[in-house]
Amino acid sequence: MLYINCPHCGMRSQNEFSYGGDASVKRPELNKEVSDQEWDNFVYNRKSLRGKHLELWQHISGCRQWIKVERDTATHEIFRTFKADEEVA
C-alpha cells in the first residue's frame, strides 16, 4: 500500500485516497471549437507510461482535496506531491 504525502494533511496511506488519472491532461476551454482529434485526446487517449508520471489523487477520506502526485509507475516510488493549484516545475 502506497504512503502518500498529502500536501494538506501529511503522510497518509493509500486507502484514504482515490486515483484520478493523468494530471497533465488539460480540459479544452468552454465554448471553444475543438477538433475531434483534440477532444478524443482529452477524453480517451492516454499514454501508459513506464516511469515518472504526474497523476491526480483525491484525498477522499481526508481533506477531500485533489492533489498531484509524481510517481514512478514501475517502482511506485513517489518523488513529490503538489497542491491542486501548485505549479509543477
Binding site: Y3, S13, L30, V43
Partner: protein, 998 residues
C-alpha cells in the same frame, strides 16, 4: 498411551501439565509446550500423511515453518481448519487432528496405487493427458483431479471466530527474534526508538534455543530470555510471539498475522482468533534466519528421513527422540551437532560425512565422544515403506560421481543436513536484488530497494559473534538517525565452536540399475527425474520449469526445495546457479487464514449500514428492508400475509388514488454555495441554470466528459447564492467528487463551495391526488394552492415548531411534495404526516411501489442511467441546451451518438397482458432465428402497472423512436422465457404530465 520417545528430563515443555489429544481418532498424551508434531513423535507416530501425487507415506521433515509434509486438518471447539502444519500447531487439551490427502486412511490409502503407476505421472502429465477428448474434462477428469488433489477441506459452516485488523506505525520493525533480531531490537530500543519485534513461534530466541553457545556469562538461551524480559518492560517496545510477518509491500508496509488463540482449546471471550497487523515501518530489520536444506538421495521422502536441525530441535526444545538408532547424513558440521545432542542422551549415531577429511572443533568434540564417523560416505537410498528401517550407504569418489560398494545399515531415522539456506523471502518481496553467495551455495539479499536490512544467518552470516556485532551496530545506527539518541551498549563476549567449510554437494547419484525416486519438492512430489524431463522437453527459464513441474509451488513455497532444484537445472544446463536465477518470492511467506485477511468485514459488516432517522418507525410497521447501496430502505410494508407483489401493488395503487408517503432520506444532497454557484450548475448540468429564480427547483441531468449520463436530480435555489442539489442515492459520493474535481482543478476561478448534506436532512415524499390536502393540514399557515406553490416551487414552513423545506417535485408522476427537516426531527415529521394523513387514507410506500410508479410514468432511474446511455437514449434530449457549453457536450457530436437508428427508451407490454417480462431480457425480431440472434435492445425495468393492471416494462431499444407499435419478442434464456410483446411509448401513464401540475 506412554510417550515412549520422550526423554526423562530436559526440553522447554511443562512436564507438570499433561494434555490429551486425538490424531486420526486415536487418543495420545503430550505436554504443555509441545507442538502437535513433537507430541506425535513422542508417541512414536511418524506416519502423518500421504504425498500429493503418488500418495506415498509421509512423516515429519522439519520442526517449523518449512515443514512440507505434516499438513493436517484441525478440529477445535466445533470448527475445522485445513492446511495446518503440525510442526507449527501448539498442543492444547482436547486437540483433534486428521491426516489429509488419503482415503480411506493414512495406513491404507487407495491413491497409493499412483506410486506404482508413477511412470504415468511424470512432469506435465496433466497438461499432456487431460487435453482430449474435450468432453471428458467436466465429467471425468476434473472431478477426479479435484478429489485427488487438495490439502484438506474448508468448513462450509459460518465461522464463529472473530478476526481483527490493526494498523501500526513504528521506527524499527524486526522480523524474527533470533540473536540478530534480539540484538538489533535491544540496541534500537535503548536509543528510544519505537520498536516492534515479531516472532512467528511461541518461544523467543530462534537458533539460541537449540545451539550450544554462551553469550556473556550465560547460555544463549538465558541471554535471550533476559533481553526479551527487559524489552517487555520498555514502553517504546512491542514484543509479539506467534506473529508471522508474511508480506513486505510498497513503501515499507509489512503485514503480520498474529495467532492470538490458536494455541488455546477455545478462543477467550472478546478475543479475536487472529489479528492482522498492517505495519508502516521507517526501517525494517530482517532477521528471519535460515532453513537447513536437504541432500537429495533415493527414497528421501520415507517417514523417518528429516532435517538434522529438526531432530535437534525435537530433542532440545521438546525432549523427544525422533529415533533410537539414528543415522546422520551431512555435508557440513551441523550434522555433528545433532549427533552430539543424541549422544548426550545416550543415543549412539552413525555420521556419514560426504567430505573426505574435515576438521573443526565440533568434529573434534564428536570424535572425543566416540561417535562413529564415516568420511566420504553417503546415503544412497532409504529403505522401508511407512518408516525408515535401514539405509543403503556407500562411499563416494572425490568428484562425487562414483559410488563404492553398497552396504546396508540398520537405522530408524536419517537426519540429513545439506547446509543452510538464508530466508530471503521478505527482502526479495521488498524488491531487493538478491545475489548468489558462492561460499554458502545460496542467495543472500543484495541492493535494498526499500528501507530494509537483512542480518544474521538470513544474510548468510553463520558466526554468532559476527552476527551480534553487526546487529547491535545496525540497530543502534538506524535508531540514532531517527531518535538522535546514542546509548552505547557493550557487546557481550561470545563463546561458540568454530565450524569448517561445507561440501558443495547436494545430490547423491543413482547407483547402477536402480531407479529410486529422489525428491526435490516434498510437498508437490517433484523428483529429480521430473525436472530432467522438463529440461529435455525444452523448458529453459526457471520460471517455466517451476510451472511445468510445480517445483516450489506448494503451500511451503519450496522452502526446502528451491535451491536443490536450481542446482539441478544449473548442472544439467551447464550453467552456474546465479545465471539460472531464482523464481520470484511472493507474499504470503506462509499460508494465512482467509478469515484473518477478511477481518471484521464479514456479512453485514462488509460495508457500513446506513439507516434513515425513521428506520425504527419502519421496523415497527412491518417494513421489509432492501439494501440500496449502503442504505437500508423499506421495500414494502407487509400487511397480514401479503407478499412483495401484493403489498407493492396496494401501496402504489393508494398513491394513485389517495396519498402515500415514502422515506427519501437516502437521496444524495449537496449544498452548493457562493457567488458563482449558478455558473457552476450551468456548466455541470446539460440545461440552462442562470435564470432559475430563488424559490424554484429545476430538474437537471449531468454528463461525464464522454457524453454518458452520470446522474440526474433536482436542484433548488434556496437563496441568492445557495442551491440545494439532490443526486441519486447510488451516485451521491461520485457527484461530490466530480464537482470538487472541476472546482479545484479545472475552474478554480469559480467562487463556489460544495459540501455533502445528505445526513443533515430527513426527507419524506408525499404523493397522490390528496397530497395537497394533507400538506395544507401539515402547514395550515402556508398557501400551498397550485398558485401559491406551483409545480417545481419551493417554500419554507413551520411543522409544529420545526423548520421544514417544502419542494413541489414528483418522482411518482402524481401531484407530489417532498418535505425535508433536520435529521433529528425526521421521526417527528414522519409520525406527524402519518397522524394527519389518516383521514386521507395515507399509507407508507416502499421502494418497490416507488419503482412501479416511476416505471409506468416513464421516468428514468439507475437501470436506464447505467453508464451506457446518453440523454437522447433516455428521451432527455429536450434538456440539452443548444446555446451554452457544459461538461460532455462536445462528445454528443460523436457519430454513434447522432446515428439515425440510435437506441432509445420505449415501453414494452406483453401481448397476453399477463406475463411479466424478466429484467435483462433481450428484445429480438424473430424468436426462432438461429443463434446468435441479433439483439435489438434490452428490458431495463419491469413492473405491474397499477393504472392498467397488466405488466409493463421499460426498454432501451435500437431505433426506439421508430419502433412504437412494432411486435417483438422478449427472450430470457436465464428464466427460459420467450414473450411476444408490443412496443409502446415509455410514458405509459399520463403522457402529458398533467397530474404533477394539477
Amino acid at each position: 498411551m506412554t510417550q515412549a520417545f520422550r526423554i526423562e528430563n530436559g526440553g522447554l515443555i511443562n512436564r507438570d501439565k499433561k494434555l490429551s489429544f486425538k490424531f486420526n481418532g486415536k487418543t495420545y498424551l503430550g505436554y504443555e509446550g509441545d507442538s502437535l508434531a513433537s507430541a506425535l513423535l513422542a508417541n512414536g507416530v511418524h506416519l502423518v500423511g500421504r504425498s500429493f501425487k503418488y500418495h506415498r507415506p509421509r512423516g515429519f521433515f522439519g520442526a517449523g515453518v518449512d515443514e512440507p509434509y505434516a499438513v493436517v486438518q484441525l478440529y477445535r471447539n466445533g470448527e475445522t481448519e485445513p492446511n495446518i502444519k503440525a510442526t507449527e500447531q501448539e498442543l492444547f487439551e482436547g486437540l483433534e487432528a486428521k491426516s489429509v490427502n488419503c482415503w480411506p486412511s493414512v495406513n491404507f490409502d487407495i491413491g497409493a496405487i499412483n506410486n506404482f503407476l508413477k511412470i504415468f505421472l511424470p512432469a506435465g502429465f496433466y497438461y499432456k493427458t487431460f487435453m482430449w477428448p474435450k468432453s471428458f474434462w467436466y465429467r471425468i477428469y476434473e472431478p477426479f483431479i479435484r478429489k485427488a488433489a487438495g490439502l484438506g477441506v474448508a468448513s462450509t459452516k459460518h465461522d464463529k471466530e472473530r478476526y481483527e485488523h490493526k494498523y501500526e506505525y513504528c521506527d524499527l520493525l524486526i522480523a524474527g527474534s533470533g540473536p540478530s533480531g534480539l540484538a538489533g531490537a535491544y540496541a534500537a530500543a535503548k536509543n528510544g526508538a519505537k520498536v516492534i519485534l515479531a516472532e512467528d513461534k511461541s518461544r523467543f530466541g530462534g537458533s539460541l534455543l537449540t545451539s550450544d553457545v554462551n553469550i556473556g556469562n550465560q547460555s544463549g538461551q538465558d541471554w535471550a530470555e533476559g533481553i526479551i524480559a527487559e524489552l517487555k518492560t520498555m514502553p517504546n517496545v512491542v514484543v509479539k510471539n506467534r506473529s508471522q510477518i508474511f508480506g513486505y509491500y510498497d513503501h515499507n508496509m509489512l503485514v503480520m498475522s498474529e495467532k492470538v488463540s490458536d494455541h488455546l482449546p477455545a478462543t477467550k471471550k472478546y478475543h479475536p482468533n487472529k489479528r492482522l497487523w498492517y505495519i508502516r515501518a521507517k526501517e525494517v530489520l530482517i532477521s528471519s534466519g535460515s532453513i537447513e536444506r536437504p541432500i537429495v538421495f533415493g527414497n528421501n521422502d520415507t517417514p523417518g528421513v528429516m532435517l538434522s536441525s529438526a531432530a535437534k530441535e525435537y530433542l532440545k526444545v521438546y525432549g523427544v527422540l525422533v529415533g533410537i538408532k539414528p543415522l546422520v547424513f551431512t555435508n557440513n558440521d551441523s550434522g555433528y551437532e545433532t549427533a552430539i545432542e543424541f549422544k548426550k542422551h545416550g543415543v549412539d549415531t552413525v555420521v556419514l560425512d560426504s567430505r573426505k577429511n574435515p576438521e573443526s572443533e565440533i568434529i573434534d568434540e564428536a570424535k572425543s565422544l566416540g561417535i562413529n564417523i564415516k568420511n566420504s560416505y553417503v546415503v544412497v537410498a532409504a529403505q522401508g515403506y511407512k518408516k525408515v528401517k535401514s539405509a543403503d550407504i556407500a562411499s563416494i569418489s572425490e568428484d562425487k560421481k562414483k559410488l563404492g560398494k553398497i552396504e546396508n545399515i540398520e537405522c530408524d531415522c536419517i537426519c540429513v543436513s545439506g547446509f543452510w539456506t538464508p530466508t530471503i523471502h521478505l527482502a526479495s518481496q521488498s524488491g531487493n536484488k538478491t545475489k548468489f553467495k558462492e561460499e554458502i551455495d545460496a542467495f543472500v539479499p543484495g541492493q535494498s530497494k526499500q528501507n530494509e536490512i537483512t542480518l544474521g544467518s538470513a544474510n548468510g552470516v553463520f558466526s554468532l559473534e559476527e552476527t551480534l556485532k553487526t546487529s547491535f551496530k545496525t540497530g543502534s545506527e538506524l535508531s540514532k538517525k531517527i531518535t538522535k539518541k546514542d546509548n552505547e551498549i557493550a557487546i557481550p563476549n561470545v563463546v561458540e565452536k568454530k565450524s569448517s567449510q561445507h561440501d558443495k554437494f547436494w545430490c547423491v547419484p543413482l547407483p547402477k540399475g536402480k531407479n529410486y525416486k529422489r525428491f526435490l519438492d516434498f510437498q508437490n512430489d517433484v523428483a529429480v527425474s521430473d525436472v530432467e524431463i522438463a529440461l529435455r522437453e525444452g523448458y529453459r527459464s526457471i520460471e517455466h520449469v517451476k510451472r511445468y513441474t510445480t517445483l516450489g509451488m506448494a503451500t511451503d513455497q519450496g522452502k526446502t526445495s528451491n535451491l536443490n532444484g536450481l542446482q539441478l537445472v544449473s548442472e544439467i544446463e551447464n550453467k552456474v546457479v546465479p545465471a539460472v536465477g531464482h523464481t520470484t518470492f511472493r507474499p504470503p511467506y506462509t499460508p494465512v487464514s482467509i478469515g484473518a485477511i477478511v477481518g471484521r468485514e464479514v456479512g453485514k459488516q462488509s460495508k457500513p449500514t446506513r439507516k434513515s432517522p425513521m428506520h425504527s418507525w419502519h421496523e415497527k410497521n412491518n417494513a421489509v428492508f432492501v439494501d440500496a447501496g449502503v442504505w437500508l430502505r423499506p421495500r414494502y410494508y407487509r400487511r397480514g400475509n401479503e407478499n412483495l407483489f401484493e403489498a407493492s401493488k396496494r401501496e402504489a395503487k393508494n398513491v394513485r388514488t389517495n396519498v402515500g408517503v415514502c422515506d427519501v432520506t437516502t437521496l444524495g444532497k449537496i449544498d452548493v454555495k457562493g457567488p458563482d454557484a449558478a455558473e457552476l450548475l450551468n456548466r455541470v448540468y446539460t440545461n440552462a441554470w442562470l435564470k432559475l429564480p430563488v424559490g424554484k427547483a429545476r430538474y437537471g441531468v449531468m454528463l461525464r466528459e464522454d457524453g454518458i449520463v452520470m446522474d440526474d436530480g433536482t436542484t433548488t435555489r434556496i437563496s441568492e447564492n445557495h442551491y440545494h442539489m439532490t443526486t441519486t442515492t447510488a451516485q451521491a459520493a461520485n457527484v461530490l467528487s466530480h464537482l470538487e474535481y472541476y472546482l479545484q482543478l479545472v475552474w478554480p476561478e469559480l467562487n463556489v463551495n460544495v459540501v455533502s448534506t445528505t445526513e443533515q436532512w430527513a426527507g419524506a415524499a408525499i404523493a397522490g391526488p390528496k397530497s395537497r390536502d394533507l400538506l395544507q393540514k401539515l402547514f395550515p399557515k402556508l398557501d400551498v394552492s397550485n398558485e401559491g406553490l406551483p409545480f417545481m416551487g419551493y417554500m419554507e414552513g413551520d411543522l409544529s415548531g420545526v423548520k421544514a423545506r417544502i419542494f413541489r417535485i414528483s418522482f411518482s408522476g402524481e401531484l407530489a411534495y417532498e418535505v425535508n427537516v433536520e435529521s433529528d426531527y425526521g421521526n417527528f415529521m414522519w409520525e406527524k404526516i402519518m397522524e394527519v394523513g389518516e383521514e386521507f387514507n395515507i399509507q407508507p410506500y416502499g421502494t418497490e411501489a416507488l419503482s412501479t410508479l416511476r416505471i409506468e410514468m416513464g421516468h428514468v432511474a439507475g437501470s436506464e442511467l447505467d453508464g451506457r446511455t446518453i440523454p437522447f437514449d433516455n428521451a432527455l434530449e429536450g434538456l440539452v441546451s443548444k446555446k451554452k457549453d457544459f461538461i460532455g457536450k462536445r462528445s454528443l457530436q460523436r457519430s454513434a451518438f447522432i446515428a439515425e437508428d440510435r437506441q432509445r427508451i420505449v415501453g414494452v407490454v406483453p401481448l397476453d397482458k399477463q406475463t411479466s417480462i424478466p429484467e435483462g431480457s433481450h428484445l429480438v425480431k424473430d424468436d426462432k432465428a438461429p443463434l446468435p440472434n441479433p439483439k435489438l435492445g434490452h428490458i431495463s425495468a419491469s413492473c405491474w402497472s397499477v393504472e392498467y393492471d397488466n405488466p409493463f416494462s421499460l426498454a432501451i431499444l435500437k431505433d426506439g423512436k421508430n419502433m412504437i407499435g412494432q411486435k417483438l419478442f422478449a427472450m430470457s434464456p436465464l428464466k427460459n422465457k420467450v414473450i411476444p410483446v408490443e412496443i409502446v411509448s415509455s410514458h405509459y401513464v399520463d403522457p402529458k404530465g398533467e397530474r404533477v401540475r394539477s
